[in-house]
Symmetry: C2
Subunit: 326 residues, 2 copies
């Protein structure tokens, strides 16, 4: 499989340079790090929001940097957690005296390295709070659930709360509320290819799909015969609804895994909305596009977020993060 | 190759339903047509902007419907021009008495069908103007140049001009100014697959790329050994600059063809910006993402638009079109 790239071992640093070169008025890269922040960071007396993780999930995470969303994103190597020293650089870069919230996806490496960075930052006198996103219902064991596309809703809500001037504890509480109310599940029609190895992450037949995939090219929890768009929507949505607390109003995200045409995402969305309508659940807002990808994997995930008045207001508040298509 | 779909012959209508279901407060579908318009259409005394073409280019064209951009998009079957009666429906739906501009991509079928629709609309007393976008410099003969990603800039500028209250002639002039100043060129690393046939549009070796592709899965004007990101950026940018009138300030679009990870688009953007800087051309604004695709083709295009003060102001004016990531 083919990629547009130069040296594989330079891919992350070159990607970050290319990203910043596109938005020089909005973002900056902290020299000699893999940290990108808002151009106006640190913002005095605003809680800073830091997220990140391995690369390969673009537009996550740097695409969510902007007013009302992230203050900084830390990029690791492809599908590899950033190191604690890089996360620490991000924390220091966005600390404006009101503390910093780390939005972490539930992977062992990320949790460990972000936690270590938090300790180092606290030792330097910075207040740090952490939340761990675990929205992937493909894994039955809640402790083992991965953070996937639902993370984008955490960025949005926490970012909006911080922008509104809330305290670190209030911002953390809003993020925790999202985490308690968001669930995702995905399917893959194709693997992805690590830039360094050039090898597909798994093999899949022409009539097969992987159900319950994560965002690191890993196989899913089950391999099935490729379903129609409607069947895929039913499978993902029903699985999520079984796990999600009942709600009257929700936000929907139909997320492409990297190589899926938007046409196909719209087909899935069509059926997801039908299912929700039949069940009497009202959709407040829908997001269709590529928000949290896995390199060039073909497939999609569905994310549902239960909303209350506070979350609706925070979801609606403006943000200029480039990847937040609304 | 695999797709998430139901019946191939229902793919366009289901896609449109899925699109509208995601944004019910912003857009509506004209019943029994493939026309999607702003929810508040027609807007009295504002010039209406209609674009469209074959499906398979998502987020084009419906994703550009919104305040300050398109009033309506007409979808044909995949890679097939919409029929004149459908275009006529769009014109009628958005006519608020100030006339309607058709933004047409330079393909024989589109030009013919939109023109026929314009005649039918004029017979019904609606003022219609037309512009034809031909930004693809891969074709030497200017008359034969296809309309590709540069069309998005025409949507943006014409839409902003119309939103500001300009007359049909003024809106057309602004669109023509973009067309005179915009150039694009693309490469493909893979073909795409028509939903009905399931067959790839061409075959390409593991170490090959097609240079000078359009957006309908056709092969390029030249087949070459797969280059690095830098080599691809140099090839596309230099080819464009040879053709583009000299300018001091430009807008850049690095567009994914459907299956290209954003990581790779950022690598290309990095080098495009380097080249422009070396040549002393100032980048005013950059767009990186999927704007005008060719189903699940892997590859990218580069678009450069020369700017003057009027175009800068119109490019900057706000729009809520969902696919306009800025």
């Amino acid at each position: 499989m083919k990629k547009i790239m130069n040296e594989p071992n330079q891919i992350v640093t070159e990607m970050l340079d290319g990203f910043v070169a596109a938005k020089p008025g909005k973002v900056k890269r902290i020299p000699d790090t893999t940290v990108v922040t808002r151009k106006d960071s640190p913002i005095q007396n605003k809680v800073g929001i830091v997220s990140g993780g391995g690369s390969g999930h673009e537009p996550a995470h740097a695409g969510y940097i902007g007013k009302g969303m992230l203050d900084a994103a830390v990029a690791g190597e492809v599908f590899t957690s950033p190191t604690p020293d890089q996360v620490l650089e991000a924390i220091k870069a966005v600390d404006g005296g009101a503390g910093v919230l780390l939005v972490i996806k539930n992977y062992t490496g990320d949790v460990m390295n972000f936690d270590m960075a938090a300790e180092l930052a606290e030792a330097e006198g910075i207040d740090v709070a952490q939340v761990v996103v675990n929205d992937d219902v493909a894994i039955d064991d809640v402790d083992g659930r991965r953070g996937v596309a639902g993370t984008v809703f955490v960025h949005k809500i926490a970012g909006a709360k911080a922008e509104a001037g809330a305290s670190l504890e209030e911002v953390k509480n809003a993020a925790e509320k999202v985490i308690a109310n968001v669930r995702s599940m995905g399917v893959a029609l194709s693997p992805c290819v690590m830039p360094a190895s050039g090898k597909p992450s798994f093999e899949l037949g022409d009539d097969e799909m992987e159900v319950g995939i994560g965002i690191h090219g890993e196989p899913g929890t089950e391999r099935k015969t490729l379903g129609t768009a409607d069947e895929i929507a039913v499978e993902l949505t029903n699985h999520i609804l079984e796990d999600l607390p009942e709600a009257e109003e929700i936000a929907v995200m139909v997320n492409g895994m990297g190589a899926t045409p938007e046409m196909e995402l719209n087909l899935v969305n069509r059926k997801v909305q039908e299912i929700l309508q039949e069940k009497g659940v009202k959709t407040y807002k829908t997001f269709v596009g590529e928000y949290m990808t896995s390199l060039e994997m073909a497939g999609c995930s569905v994310t549902l977020l239960n909303l209350d008045d506070e979350l609706k207001e925070l979801l609606d508040s403006p943000s200029d993060a480039p990847a937040l298509r609304v």
